[in-house]
Symmetry: C2
Subunit: 324 residues, 2 copies
């Protein structure tokens, strides 16, 4: 097999020389794009003192607000709301009880008023009580038909084109790309492979408890209405350690929920890159940070200069936002 | 890149035709070897009705008793015993208290008498209270110097040569190989890449709780003396679903602790293969099954014929046991 590997290496070299800038075609030329390209170059060139062997090239990505949009609410919550609407005819008792009345009315503000407890109840009712296969099918069906309320496009087309290019660029540079999301791991896995090219086994996320069931020669795993693991904040560093087992070389996030993931990635020896996607584009996307209820970005934005984290300014750095 | 992929495919085809039998050189010709080779052929040949697309080619392996030996006790327990001996000078109180007195005396039977509670205490004392980096270094140092008590070779050379060949054969056939172990995930990760060619992110295992800590610009993850997840029995099916997120196509185990992993793998549509390594060779290895305290194999052995699981008979099927 050696001759073919040599051939591939040669082809890759030619391609790197000729195409590296095109690979980030939706990024405007500037410091952010340059920082990413430079980092990839110096960690993948064997002549570089910062060369990272391929097995150690782990890059982790938050999902909501980093790989796809997260406004006006996390898409998984919008899925839960649509699911409550679909199930409502069989649950007349929901018509007079929050958070269900707000959900059925599509009233996100009313839903928010029900607090963590209300939102948690909504999530458990819509995410538990079925097998993992059944849940995946429900989520798949929803993604196939549902549209974003204001962007008027399927949620699967609300991924950020510049980030899709980063994922592909890193993989073609020998990086293994992982999602590390506060969202439900079994929800994100339904679309991660198709949208991002990230297989299920490279998605780390929050989870609920499950049981293994065997009956009549069939087996299934049942989803229980009980939290198992919250992959957010310090949970992201813990999840990375527990599921991936290596310190990442690169981390991409957009909120304070990604703070410890950025710290865990970059506060280590060797070359490391932390990147924050800063939502600054009210015209083409949304503009929010320190005071937002969704994707709050405050401490991590303060820490970025001292930590050397790259802050991507969407309005300035991204030529296009969504795939065509 | 297309031309090079075509070239690789061609080269792979030639190699498959010429080398597939040699790839399992430590296996005697017979039904077990044939069943594995036939299954790989029909799941990887595009002309086969049982063809499995490459991303779905997931193969899972138990570790203790399947990929390496597990007698006279799980090697991780022998590590804990050695660790207690090393720490004993700083713990005079251990000299008069079980399970420590047995551990310090190297008395495995005495240790067994202390039951789950005693063994659990021994594991927590030796596996928790330090950072994950420190723990990995302690385990790495032990593996570098310790020797198996009767085989008189490093533990890292107590892997089964025929299984090393299966791992390599499957990977060269486009399978992604995972360890799914009842052992500690952070212990197994220390050697899985070097011995088995399985990277940390493809090891699923039992774990203890951890916390993320940040101090003086440094970050670390601290190991706590509290069980987080037991990846054994039904836990193996749950762990596979939670960490890998796909049903495996092939599963290899050796005990009733692998029963649900075998069920979860093979009780599904499409081609599936379950393999049980049966320890039948008292002369070259060990012979044990239904009444063993370690690696008890009873229900899974009963179920194997009806389930169509291959039962590998070590005495009959393996030409050699350990690497040279």
């Amino acid at each position: 097999m050696k001759p073919s590997f040599t051939l591939i290496s040669l082809l890759c070299c030619f391609c790197t020389l000729g195409c590296s800038s095109d690979r980030l075609a939706s990024w405007n030329d500037g410091a952010s794009k340059q920082a990413i390209v430079d980092f990839v170059d110096r960690t993948t060139s064997t002549a570089s003192p910062d060369f990272v062997p391929q097995p150690e090239r782990i890059a982790v990505f938050d999902n909501d607000g980093t790989l796809w949009a997260e406004q006006p609410a996390y898409f998984q919550l919008l899925f839960a709301v649509d699911r409550v609407k679909a199930l409502a005819p069989n649950h007349p008792e929901w018509n007079q009880r929050e958070p269900f009345t707000s959900a059925i009315a599509g009233d996100l503000e009313g839903l928010a008023k029900s607090g963590h407890k209300g939102v948690g109840e909504l999530l458990m009712v819509t995410h538990a009580g079925m097998s993992t296969d059944e849940f995946a099918q429900i989520a798949r069906d929803w993604l196939r038909t549902a549209k974003h309320p204001t962007l008027n496009r399927p949620y699967t087309r609300c991924a950020y084109q510049p980030m899709l290019e980063v994922l592909e660029y890193l993989r073609s540079s020998g990086y293994k790309t992982f999602i590390v999301t506060g969202g439900g791991v079994e929800f994100v896995r339904v679309f991660a492979e198709e949208i991002y090219g990230i297989p299920p086994e490279q998605v780390v996320g929050s989870s609920i408890k499950t049981t293994f069931e065997s009956a009549n020669g069939r087996t299934f795993i049942k989803r229980l209405p009980e939290i198992d693991f919250i992959d957010d904040g310090p949970g992201k560093a813990i999840g990375i350690n527990n599921r991936i087992g290596r310190r990442p070389v690169m981390a991409f996030g957009n909120s304070d929920g990604d703070l410890q993931m950025l710290q865990w990635t970059t506060a280590a020896q060797g070359p490391r890159l932390g990147v924050i996607v800063h939502h600054t584009d009210a015209k083409r996307e949304w503009a929010y940070d320190r005071s937002s209820h969704i994707g709050k970005l405050d401490t991590a934005l303060n820490d970025a200069p001292q930590q050397g984290w790259i802050v991507v300014d969407i309005a300035r750095d991204w030529r296009t936002i969504y795939p065509k």
